[in-house]
Subunit: 357 residues, 2 copies
DNA sequence: GACTGATGATTAATCGTTTAATCAACGCTT
DNA sequence: AAGCGTTGATTAAACGATTAATCATCAGTC
């Protein structure tokens, strides 16, 4: 029941008095069909508004043309960039994207992956929950995380990003820098922090502040005590995410500390509001488009090359389809805006003075 | 080729010496199968790791079990909330979610919709690009937008949200309020602004500032001149989005104007960073979970009831499957944080003074 | 003992597409 | 004219699940 509205191959075939196989061949460009007939078939297919049934095709070819995108937490502010880039690259490659949210839970991550498999995805892109290792599942997988994650992944070069932001701050003349992270368990954050430290020579003093630790004591959304840090002599605050940079920025401004006149604040990720806050945030941007492209093309390659021969039937049924994306790290790009500048005189409260144009 | 790895119904049937139909019936609970046999079939299905082929099922039943989610712009900061809620409700209802991004372009919206149809989605949830009317497409559709959008939609009650925030500000004692919007073409923004205006009685003076107009003149990311507005006597800045509220907040703070000591700032949407900026933003939250649930359940209902009888074959092939979600508006919830308070004395520059705990 | 119903399982058709195998017809060569 | 290669099209068999229709078996009834 519920016969799909549109016409199918046989309707086209019937209306032209040819066989379905010919129509299929004509539309797919395979087999041997006379140019003239191809033209006529194309025309009537168009006229009838023919839309191929993915179900039929999938059943026959064993491929659904759909990729799964597994995210640790869709509500992550970085997610839009990821999803958009992946969706674009996938659709260019002719694939659809099915989303699955693991809501930060490791158990749900497995569950989400299973749901995707049941839906018959040809492959998956996984942004793993921190610390998770992706077990071998029945289809090609590309992992987007940190280069430090064991296994094959594509990701931004967070370490290099850290170095760049450090060099920027050092060049501006900062000698005492507070690095702001949220959670020591995150590979991404550790890479960024490692890079920042590595980017400074021994003349620069750094200290790491973990937001989660402070919040554990003082409650969520509490002040981080940055004003005190500023009076201790810290002139730059390098956060590992724009989210934390924003928090630092507003906290400092509220305390009457001029940014960038007095201290500098930098972030990571170039989130959507980073350009519009005052002062606009200096940050490191990941090249998501490139990352997505690499991930998708590796995935598509694995899918379409697949098992080249049917050989070794019951040999290693799962081993052949292991992760396939080769490790690759995409450089991040420094975006200099108004929130970073040379270290200024001690705590000042100038109302605004020179507004950055 | 490329026979799917897992076993299929016939493998189970063969290994038990029964027919595929029986296996199918046993697993789906339809037809007549003895309880004992059902048990045995279940067991071996489990043992073999049977996963039903969606392709086969879809081909036979004409339903893919997948919904499409069309978004005007995935990079919208509100998107994570929407996607997460939709994905959750859909997966509870047993559906997968295929995403499509129209990247803000009306043409691409149609194209994205077509791609989803080709992929055989059973229905779609569309968050339309502003001003777009969704044409009749071949499947059930739920639209999430504004109640003011003609046609059947589910959405937050933006108007009511506006009224609430206005009442909150009026209650605090504000008498001169600047409403900050981005674009006069947005239904959502107009509803919110309308609601705000309606929430004030005649004692309160309001003025609307459109960011896009200012940026057209002064360039993107420019200052909005809010400090001047403050000196003109505006004591509250009600933005139609947290994104703009954040911009206002940082701009005011940078100008040395104390928030909320001197002026108040409010937003909409309760975006992820709203609680962590200093001062934390007072805002209106949409109940996305409820909205998603309503949209999905209307959609699923339309899909599964569908055309109750095959009657009227070539009558109105498309008319029957028109939009089906009934109009429904979900109330928004006021979230009071630190960015709003009673109007203070004229422009002050107290460094911090009393920090909100 | 034949008839009736209920029960439990099987047969076979079907969804729409792809594709290997087959076939007919025609032009060329020897 | 018989043989051969090429071209253009058809036949038919899958893919995996669902389901209406059919069939066999057995218990109970008159």
């Amino acid at each position: 029941m519920a016969t799909r509205p549109g016409p199918n191959l046989s309707r086209i075939a019937a209306s032209l008095g040819v066989s379905v196989a010919t129509v299929s061949n004509a539309l797919s460009g395979k087999g041997r069909v006379s140019a003239e007939l191809v033209e006529r078939i194309r025309a009537t297919a168009n006229a009838l508004g023919y839309v191929p049934s993915q179900a039929g095709r999938a059943l026959r070819t064993g491929r659904s043309g759909v990729l799964g995108l597994v995210l640790p937490d869709i509500s992550n502010p970085l997610f839009p960039q990821i999803a958009q880039a992946i969706e674009y690259s996938a659709s260019v490659a002719g694939y659809g994207v099915l989303i699955a949210d693991s809501r930060g839970d490791v158990g749900m991550q497995t569950e989400a992956i299973n749901r995707l498999i049941e839906r018959g995805v040809d492959g998956m892109i996984i942004v793993p929950r921190r610390g998770t290792r992706i077990a071998d599942i029945g289809c090609p997988v590309a992992v987007i995380d940190t280069p430090s994650t064991p296994g094959n992944t594509v990701s931004a070069d967070h370490w290099q990003g850290g170095r760049e932001i450090a060099k920027h701050l050092a060049w501006l003349g900062h000698r005492k820098v507070l690095i702001i992270g949220a959670n020591p368990g995150s590979n991404v954050q550790n890479d960024r922090i490692g890079g920042i430290k590595a980017g400074f020579d021994s003349a620069v003093q750094t200290e790491v502040l973990w937001i989660e630790k402070i919040e554990d004591q003082n409650g969520g959304g509490c002040l981080l005590g940055l004003a005190e840090k500023a009076t201790e002599g810290f002139t730059a605050f390098a956060a590992v995410s724009d989210l934390h940079a924003l928090r630092a920025l507003t906290e400092l401004q509220r305390a009457g500390i001029n940014v960038p006149g007095c201290v500098s604040v930098t972030g990571f990720d170039d989130l959507i509001w980073s350009p519009v806050v005052t002062p606009a945030l200096t940050t490191m941007r990941m090249d998501m488009d490139t990352i997505a492209e690499i991930a998708i093309s590796a995935l598509v390659h694995a899918i379409e090359k697949g098992e080249p021969e049917e050989a070794s039937a019951d040999e290693t049924p799962s081993e052949r389809r292991l992760v396939t994306a080769t490790v690759s790290r995409v450089p991040m790009q420094l975006v200099v805006r108004q929130s970073s500048g040379p270290p200024g005189p001690a705590k000042t409260n100038l109302p605004d003075g020179d507004l950055p144009k």
